[in-house]
């Protein structure tokens, strides 16, 4: 599974399909950082750590 697909999966898990769709507007290079930043802001560092494994 690619980085974007993994990000989409996590964003759908945390916020729902609307946020997952947002990942389509990101690139393979920046999607992890952008998603991690959003998850960190709303849910905290612990939840954001999941993105470290991508």
């Amino acid at each position: 599974m690619g980085r974007k697909e993994r990000c989409k999966e996590l964003m759908a898990k945390y916020f729902g399909p609307a946020t997952a769709q947002l990942v389509d507007t990101m690139t393979e290079e920046d999607c992890v950082d952008k998603c991690k930043q959003r998850v960190s802001a709303f849910l905290g560092e612990d939840a954001a750590k999941e993105f470290d494994e991508i």
Partner: protein, 297 residues
């Protein structure tokens, strides 16, 4: 968990949604914000700042000096000159566009902010529209393509007024990482998937075809008093208001205030104005057969 900045603005409003949300219980609004590390930058009713201080805050927000994470708007947006287009000396439309472009979440609280509501009813002299809808039509003030930083369109939490739980629980979902699903009018499904009819204490009269002819009579309000509960989506009769009641439980028909067509499509309130959609009629007929073994009289 980072602290999130919330700014609450008003357009053409009666202040009813603010009053409703401020009256939240278990927890109350301010306790909720504190527990969830949400910093209320400004609220027209409960903020201690006004005048020049408020203007300074708005300017700082618009210039990006202060981050806006959650933007809540109450009331419709006037689009014609001379109709309340200024708030604390600022152009309301410009402020709405600016804040919406920066926020991670944009939430329309109340039917006026969501769909235009009362100010958008004919003759609509102020050119009032909702943030992203005008009645049943998508577009509104921000346009149908608008999405906020978290990928959501304007999240519509209608009602006249809105139920405080709908607002607080939606915000809470985003703080807990609980997915928020929206219906076709961008309302959270958690609160707007059920019909008002569900859980109404007059349901058994409806199923048996016993219709009240005036407000004090025993019976269902649908046929003779124009109750819109069968076609209006909201969980009023499951969640209840103030934990104990609802419009229909307190002896008044539902006027369909969470529907995008409110109030235009709902008047006259005391006459049946909307035909039942096929799926609703089929569900009602099926229930009648199960409970009473036949159709109503």
């Amino acid at each position: 968990m980072e602290e999130l900045n919330l700014i609450w603005m008003q357009g053409q409003t009666c202040d009813g949604d603010s009053m409703s949300v401020i009256d939240a219980e278990r927890p109350n609004f301010l306790t909720f914000l504190e527990r969830n590390k949400i910093n209320l930058l400004y609220h027209p009713t409960i903020s201690p700042i006004f005048g020049r201080d408020a203007q300074r805050l708005f300017n700082d927000c618009m210039e990006g000096k202060i981050r806006i994470d959650i933007f809540i708007f109450e009331g419709s947006v006037p689009t014609k000159e001379g109709y309340g287009e200024y708030f604390e000396g600022q152009d309301v439309g410009g402020m709405v566009r600016n804040f919406a472009s920066k926020s991670m979440l944009t939430i329309a609280v109340g039917t006026c902010a969501a769909f235009g509501g009362v100010p958008a009813a004919p003759p609509n002299e102020s050119g009032a529209v909702g943030l992203q809808w005008h009645g049943y039509t998508k577009g509104g003030f921000l346009g149908e393509e608008y999405i906020a930083g978290l990928g959501f369109p304007v999240i519509n939490i209608p009602g006249c007024p809105t139920h405080p739980d709908w607002v607080i629980n939606t915000l809470q979902s985003f703080r807990l990482g609980r997915p928020v699903l929206l219906d076709k009018f961008n309302r959270p499904k958690d609160y707007f998937e059920e019909k008002v009819h569900r859980g109404c204490k007059h349901c058994e009269f409806h199923e048996r075809g016993i219709w009240a002819k005036n407000y004090t009579e025993v019976g269902c309000f649908a046929a003779k008093l124009g109750c819109k509960g069968r076609t209006t989506n909201s969980d009023c009769n499951i969640r209840l208001w103030n934990g104990v009641s609802s419009c229909t439980r307190s002896g008044a028909p539902c006027i369909g205030c969470t529907d995008p067509g409110f109030p235009v499509s709902m008047v006259p309130f005391d006459e049946e104005t909307l035909a039942l959609p096929d799926d609703v009629q089929a569900e009602i007929d099926a229930r009648k057969r199960v409970i009473y073994g036949g159709e109503s009289q």
